[in-house]
């Protein structure tokens, strides 16, 4: 109906190395910066586009607008002092940092976390995943001009933040999962209030299905656009929903179960098209999985128990020499912390492996050429990237 085939007749032929000879003097090309302050960008990064007409022939990704040097900061902070820092590495889904960091420290220090804390951590991670998807789906529709879905899902996210607030004492940076366990028990009546949130979410999501996923314009603009060849998954480190949309059922929750995921019943949704539509659809279906998981967790939640293991005095906590890698499945794919200790009171090295690093920098540069300017935002959002975790 609206088929579009780019007319490449005006392009100069690529050179023998397959690269374009771009000479801005000819007037044929235009440099266009999208970001760092651009509503179509997912956070503080920018893409330097070279366009020919409204066709993008080259895109270079630029980061560096948000550098706070977390990894370096942590090398000069005690193990407990790193705990309030790590959540800031990913604003929309901070809990993964808290979990990975805590688990890495516990691993090297040989601390066994109480069962109750493991259930609490799983609950928090699923709540965080749910919220992250709210932003991703809302952003996806927003990137294509469909603002109302963003508004609805912001509201749904907001009431989930209310649950975060009553559980953890904060809305955004929860700082609830700390080395040794978690900071508290479930508040009274939490399960009922959570159920209300989930019901509201389901009602809104039903509307999102009608307005967004069953929308002719949306389908037209996302199907077949931003295709990632599954062959690239391995070399480019593509994980999470981005890989699952290409038929690869990768999910750390299933592949290497952590916390209490082995006690929960869930399927990993996949698609095969590997385009924007497929990626977004995987996320949409993963929300349902998350909702289901939250219900399962709350149903099986231990009646009570210790929230914290015995830990040494944190003011001079030293951890023996060692290294460890802790990973988990965040809403964007595999999230990992590589922690090296040298027997001192400070981490020797903390390396944060955020999925955005691979998805937003190298992969995006590869996907951009050949797209329309108006699709760049959608393409980027469809990779679901958060620049802070690139610049840790």
């Amino acid at each position: 109906m609206f088929s579009f085939q780019p007319d490449r007749s005006q392009y100069p032929a690529p050179g023998p190395d397959g690269k374009l000879e771009i000479d801005l003097e000819t007037g044929q090309y235009l440099k266009l910066w999208q970001g760092p302050n651009h509503p179509g960008m997912t956070g503080n990064m920018s893409v330097e586009l070279t366009v020919c007409g409204d066709e993008v022939v080259e895109g270079k990704t630029h980061v560096g607008y948000l550098h706070r040097g977390f990894e370096k900061l942590m090398e000069r902070r005690s193990f407990i002092q790193c705990f309030p820092i790590v959540c800031r590495i990913c604003v929309p889904e901070p809990d993964f940092n808290e979990y990975c960091y805590a688990a890495a420290v516990e691993n090297l220090a040989g601390i066994e976390v109480p069962e109750y804390a493991n259930w609490m951590r799983t609950l928090i991670l699923e709540m965080g995943r749910f919220n992250s998807y709210m932003m991703a789906i809302g952003g996806m529709s927003g990137a294509l001009g469909l603002g109302v879905v963003g508004q609805w899902l912001t509201y749904v996210r907001d009431i989930m933040l209310d649950r975060f607030e009553e559980l953890t004492g904060a809305r955004i940076y929860h700082m609830f999962i700390l080395p040794g366990g978690v900071r508290g028990h479930l508040p009274e009546g939490f399960k009922d209030r959570m159920e209300e949130v989930l019901k509201t979410a389901e009602r809104y999501l039903a509307d999102v299905d009608k307005v967004m996923f069953s929308n002719a314009v949306y389908k037209r603009r996302t199907k077949g656009v931003g295709y990632i060849d599954p062959k690239l998954f391995e070399p480019y480190g593509v994980t999470g929903p981005n890989a699952r949309a290409g038929g690869v059922a990768k999910d750390v929750r299933k592949d290497a179960p952590y916390l209490v995921y082995d006690q929960l019943d869930f399927e990993v949704p996949t698609e095969t098209a590997s385009d924007i539509w497929a990626r977004t659809n995987v996320r949409r279906r993963d929300i349902d999985v998350s909702i289901d998981l939250i219900r399962q967790i709350l149903k099986k939640f231990p009646k009570g128990g210790e929230v914290m293991a015995e830990i040494p005095n944190v003011l001079h906590w030293k951890i023996p020499r060692g290294e460890t890698y802790i990973k988990g499945e965040s809403s964007r794919g595999e999230y990992g912390y590589y922690l090296v200790t040298d027997g001192s009171g400070y981490p020797r090295r903390v390396n944060v492996r955020g999925p955005s690093y691979t998805h937003a920098m190298a992969l995006l540069e590869l996907l951009i050429p050949g797209t329309n300017i108006s699709d760049v935002a959608a393409l980027m959002v469809s990779l679901h990237t958060y620049p802070p975790e690139i610049e840790r």
């Binding site: 109906m1 607030e165 904060a170 069953s214 002719a216």
Partner: protein, 603 residues
């Protein structure tokens, strides 16, 4: 893709009929009960230990002085800069007293940016009375609350001998205990000798015992002794005691001395390489006060001679404290270090008899009086003049000296302090050896709520089969009135004490004559108090000196009204080893200043 897909989005219009979900008045929205909002601090509960400042990774907390420091309270309080704070609440979690909390308030308008740096609890805020806000669940978890138990010899094994009871920590136990310290330093301020407590505890964690030993002897030449018998005021100032047990500082000190081989001591403690000053100092009394002064003065290059009346040096540490609490070898090791600094100790010399004060004055540049409190007080109740009534300090001295002491089957002790416990437990051991069983009754004026002796002394005494009666005031030592045993002690008659303090809170017992008891015993030991034997001063010097309520008057530095004479230790400050050590340091410093000035005046 179908026609339905074109129409489907229009279903969004139904939301036009819904009530908006926006919060109408966000400024009055109350946060959740657990919300980590603005800080509150219970200023009376807070001890200014600075743990909050230490843990804050943003350096948002500064400790600022708000009141005068006192024992166990630095007088500092946390000032929080909301330009830096990230509301992680680690300060609340680490708080040693639980004084620092958070409200669930989160809205604060002010034109002055400096207003957001404030002292919670001191700068009044609208949320100070807020009941809600973040609370740490289950108390303090970020540092240990339970003391590592000290292993002790079982009562039935220890009662028949004078072997040391306390085993000492092993490395693992000591590290665990040392780990609990938050390095606030409140103990340093409280310790009379201001020992580097957090630093030497740190050396235990790091396994650097030689450095630990160096730190110990820097401030206390009686570290082996104090590691066993110190009154540990530090532990009453310890921040950890507010929620849990105080750090076992005394046992940790002992652990360091246990870990270093004795032949390394002198090398580690070291002797400053100073030229001899040629100035001479005589010290009367080889107790903790005198020997500490001697240690310091010898290290400053002076020639120091200590005169001791008794057969061996150590004073009350040897002749007062029983061996099961402080083995003589420990004391000898500390004295050995002091002697290695060049101090000469002359035992068996009584000043005033063998050498006169005048001669000491003439032969030395300075003289230190450190004679302790070696005379026991008597109640002087009727019958107390009987030969079967003994004084505790005298009896303890005889036991140490190896003299034969009478050991009847039933003994009554008057007194509730540690000396009373010492003599009761020593006699109990002798009774066990001689008669196979213990028969000791201790009668104390004080009630158990206000007991003078340490809790552990009371517990251990009872374990050893000693009967302790509180609130009993001695009225009469009952003696046999006729027959061949005339004059022999039969027991002690006491009245119950119904109140021990007067309206001004001073110790002033009041008796209930209606509640009378007679405690059977063939010997009564008085352990009610001690006094200094100042007779060695001679009438002339006694007249010349200024006095302060029975004790030689000294200035802040320990100098008496006679410019050549200083006084230190129990005889001027009351009975306590660590206070005597502190006093020894003080007079050594003062004497050195005077001697330096004398040298300079001559030059």
């Amino acid at each position: 893709m179908s026609f339905k897909d074109v129409l489907s989005p229009f279903t969004a219009w139904k939301h036009v009929l819904e009530t908006p979900v926006t919060i109408k008045d966000p400024l009055t929205r109350e946060a959740a009960d657990r919300y980590r909002g603005f800080h509150k601090n219970d200023i009376e509960l807070c001890i200014g230990c600075s743990s909050c400042e230490a843990i804050c990774q943003n350096a948002a907390i500064d400790m600022v002085p708000v009141k005068d420091p006192k024992e166990g309270d630095s007088g500092l309080r946390p000032q929080i800069d909301y330009g830096r704070c990230c509301w992680c609440a680690l300060c609340v979690d680490i708080c040693m007293t639980g004084s620092l909390t958070m409200s669930n308030e989160y809205i604060w308008f002010d034109e002055d940016p400096d207003a957001f740096r404030f002292i919670p609890g001191v700068d009044a805020k609208s949320w100070d009375s807020s009941e809600k806000g973040y609370r740490r669940e289950g108390g303090r978890r970020l540092s240990g609350t339970e003391r590592v138990e000290m292993r002790e010899m079982e009562p039935d094994l220890r009662i028949g001998n004078f072997d040391e009871i306390v085993a000492g920590y092993d490395r693992a136990e000591a590290v665990l205990e040392a780990d609990r310290c938050v390095e606030c330093g409140l103990c340093v301020a409280t310790c009379p000798a201001h020992m580097d407590i957090p630093d030497y505890i740190k050396t235990i964690r790091e396994g650097d015992y030689e450095h630990g030993l160096e730190l110990l002897y820097n401030s206390n030449p009686f570290s082996e002794v104090c590691g066993r018998v110190c009154t540990h005021n530090c532990e009453t100032a310890c921040a950890a005691r507010h929620e849990g047990d105080p750090i076992a500082i005394r046992w940790l000190k002992r652990h360091i001395t246990d870990q270093v081989p004795y032949d390394r001591y002198v090398d580690i403690v070291g002797k400053p390489d100073l030229a001899k000053t040629g100035q001479k100092i005589a010290i009367i009394g080889a107790g903790p006060g005198g020997l500490t002064a001697a240690f310091d003065l010898a290290r400053m290059g002076h020639a120091v001679t200590v005169y001791e009346e008794k057969e061996k040096p150590g004073g009350m540490m040897r002749y007062g404290i029983p061996e099961y609490r402080l083995p003589y070898e420990s004391l000898d090791r500390d004295i050995g270090v002091i002697e290695a600094m060049g101090v000469k100790i002359k035992c068996g010399v009584r000043i005033g008899k063998d050498i006169s004060m005048e001669k000491l004055k003439a032969d030395n540049d300075a003289v230190v009086l450190a004679i302790g409190l070696h005379l026991g007080r008597s109640t002087r109740v009727p019958g107390s003049e009987s030969p079967d009534v003994e004084k505790a300090v005298e009896l303890l001295r005889r036991i140490t000296a190896g003299e034969e002491v009478p050991v009847p089957k039933k003994v009554v002790v008057i007194g509730g302090g540690n000396v009373a416990m010492d003599i009761a437990r020593s006699m109990a051991r002798l009774q066990k050896q001689r008669h196979g069983e213990v028969g000791i009754t201790v009668t104390a004026l004080e009630s158990f709520d206000h007991f003078l002796a340490d809790e552990e002394e009371v517990v251990e005494s009872r374990e050893e089969g000693i009967e302790i009666l509180d609130s009993r005031g001695p009225q009469e030592v009952i003696t046999v009135k006729s027959g061949k045993n005339k004059g022999k002690v039969k027991g002690l008659r006491t009245w119950r004490v119904d109140s021990i303090f007067d309206e001004k809170g001073r110790f002033n017992p009041h008796y209930d004559e209606g509640d009378e008891m007679v405690h059977d015993g063939e010997m009564v030991i008085e352990a009610i108090g001690q006094v200094s034997d100042v007779s060695l001063l001679g009438e002339k010097l006694t007249e010349a000196l200024e006095w302060n309520r029975g004790r030689v008057k000294i200035d802040h530095d320990g100098r008496t009204s006679e410019p050549w004479l200083w006084a230190a230790g129990d005889c001027v400050k009351g009975p306590d080893v660590i206070n005597a050590v502190a006093d020894g340091h003080r007079v050594a410093q003062s004497i050195n200043q005077v001697l330096v000035a004398m040298r300079e005046a001559k030059a």
